[in-house]
């Protein structure tokens, strides 16, 4: 009668996706993302007149600063506001699986919204020669970036029951990561180096150039794990 409790991640993920598909907010966010990215891509392509995906990757990285907090803002906030977290955590579900389901569901939506952008690759490829390896590395960079950002967004959402506040906190956190390597001139020495290393854009740059460096992979995985652990710790404190 009872099945393996490992199944709870699958059950939770299914519920997250079902609710995401039934609420208009995810569709609105994806459509707005695709419209803006499409406009910026076309505008940049015809302005620069160069067959390259670099501007698309750079702009998408910046758009993720807004797009991902908009997707993750409801993940825990909505559960707090409706009280449904009380139902979830009184079932035999571990906190880790609960957080993993939240991360995976938002991440899958980000991945799904990136799929139509392959059309841009086809357009650029038809206009000139692009290096498939660079395109692959660029997408891989975006996927790693999305993992870190989703994790930070879910953490922000676990701090409050107000979705707008969750969005602003996530935007603030991500903006700090984004801006760090752009303000290194304000300081010198090891502090400047640390700031640069902590910046998300710094690690993305090598992906966009077509290089997959293990240090960059470790950085993004580290950010993902760091914020997931923070979420777990925060939820633990909340129920004490």
């Amino acid at each position: 009668m009872k099945q393996d409790s490992n199944n709870s991640l699958k059950v939770l993920l299914k519920k997250e996706m079902l609710i995401a598909l039934k609420t208009p907010s995810a569709y609105v966010v994806i459509i707005v993302f695709l419209l803006i990215s499409g406009y910026l891509f076309a505008d940049g392509l015809f302005l620069s007149n160069v067959a390259t995906l670099r501007p698309f990757f750079t702009l998408t990285g910046i758009m993720f600063l807004f797009f991902i907090p908009a997707l993750t803002m409801r993940s825990f906030s909505e559960e707090f506001r409706n009280g449904t977290l009380e139902v979830l955590v009184t079932h035999p579900v571990s906190r880790t699986r609960l957080i993993a389901a939240k991360l995976l569901s938002s991440y899958l939506i980000v991945v799904a919204s990136l799929v139509p952008t392959i059309f841009y690759v086809i357009v650029v490829a038809s206009l000139g020669n692009i290096d498939p390896g660079t395109a692959f590395a660029g997408y891989l960079g975006l996927l790693f970036l999305a993992a870190g950002y989703v994790s930070a967004g879910v953490f922000a959402s676990s701090l409050t029951q107000n979705q707008v506040v969750a969005f602003i906190i996530a935007l603030f956190i991500l903006f700090i990561f984004f801006i760090l390597d752009k303000v290194t001139a304000l300081t010198t020495g090891s502090v400047a180096y640390i700031m640069q290393y902590a910046s998300s854009d710094f690690h993305l740059a090598s992906f966009y150039k077509g290089a997959i460096d293990l240090r960059d992979v470790v950085y993004f995985l580290g950010v993902t794990i760091f914020f997931s652990s923070m979420t777990s710790k925060w939820l633990e404190l909340r129920f004490k």
Partner: protein
């Protein structure tokens, strides 16, 4: 076997929400949890379910300690929270299947239990409706179905009949009574008549402390009876109440004028014995007696005594 709460306290900052509560439930029954708002009922229930950790003391189910950090024991508990939170975007069957699978039921058990709870909670006609479209009564039934779908040993129901119409209330009470033949049911309610109708045992909690732990029989002995007298008289209600108060000395007396009649309610230790004296009093005072009934236990009075006694400015229920 069963549920054991040993010296459990819960502090939120410096505020004590639950103060050294202990009780045991060793056999299938309905235990009613009563208390004014903010007395600590919901906090205690949340600690039993593992939603909140106790600051002190221990909660054990079948001898195993409940620990919020470990999910294992939770499949033994079915919980209907006070606010009945639901994923309103989901359809009823989707939600119930989700909670069944979350409790670890496989596909076959899920469909078998779904069939059972749908039948028992009367959800057949709304099974494919999104929850946001349901009335409050149906939502409450979905919450109750969620609590029992995985066939738990212990049911913790925080105000299970809230928002239901009288017919639904009777249906749900019947269901709870039947479930209690083989399950441990702990329910909280504000409806005192519900406690009398349903519970084998009553726990009254006030300001975080357990002030009464009594079986239904003990409660009957302990509490006063309620005698209702309807008389026809030209006198004002206060005058009639005064007459009964002086002669019968009830612990509580209230009178209400209704047209030409006055409805008097008396709380008495032995309301059966007093009936004859009440009749004589009506004759002596020339009150035309239209009705005299003994409504049994005045739990309301006992509740007031226990929860207002030490609180002069306390809120009444």
């Amino acid at each position: 076997m069963g549920l054991e709460i040993r010296g459990v306290s819960k502090l939120f900052g410096s505020k004590t929400a639950v103060d050294n509560i202990s009780f045991q439930i060793n056999e299938p029954s309905v235990v009613g949890f009563l208390g004014p708002n903010g007395a600590g009922k919901t906090t205690t229930m949340r600690m039993i379910t593992g939603y909140l950790a106790a600051t002190e003391g221990e909660i054990a189910i079948d001898g195993q300690r409940v620990d919020p950090a470990h999910a294992g024991l939770r499949s033994k508990i079915g919980y209907l929270p006070e606010s009945n939170p639901l994923y309103t975007e989901m359809e009823v069957h989707e939600y119930l299947k989700f909670t069944a699978q979350l409790s670890g039921l496989d596909a076959a058990a899920t469909s078998r239990r779904l069939e059972f709870v749908v039948e028992r909670c009367g959800l057949r006609e709304v099974l494919y409706d999104p929850i946001y479209r349901l009335s409050k009564g149906y939502k409450q039934r979905v919450g109750l179905a969620q609590a029992m779908i995985h066939d738990p040993e212990i049911l913790i129901l925080d105000e299970p009949t809230s928002g239901l119409d009288p017919n639904q209330v009777i249906g749900i009470r019947d269901l709870i009574s039947e479930l209690a033949k083989e399950k441990f049911v702990v329910l909280s309610t504000h409806i005192l008549s519900e406690v009398q109708a349903l519970c084998n045992r009553v726990l009254i909690i006030n300001r975080g402390k357990l002030v009464l732990d009594a079986t239904a029989d003990e409660l009957q002995h302990r509490s006063t009876g309620l005698l209702t007298i309807v008389v026809k008289t030209g006198l004002p209600a206060e005058k009639v109440a005064e007459t009964f108060q002086k002669a019968l000395e009830p612990s509580r007396c209230s009178a209400k004028k209704n047209g030409g009649t006055v409805n008097v309610q008396l709380s008495l230790k032995d309301s059966d014995e007093v009936r004859e004296r009440a009749f004589d009093l009506c004759v002596t005072n020339n009150f035309k007696l239209l009705g005299l009934s003994n409504s049994g236990t005045d739990l309301e009075n006992l509740f007031r005594e226990l929860t207002l006694g030490s609180d002069e400015t306390g809120q009444q229920q």
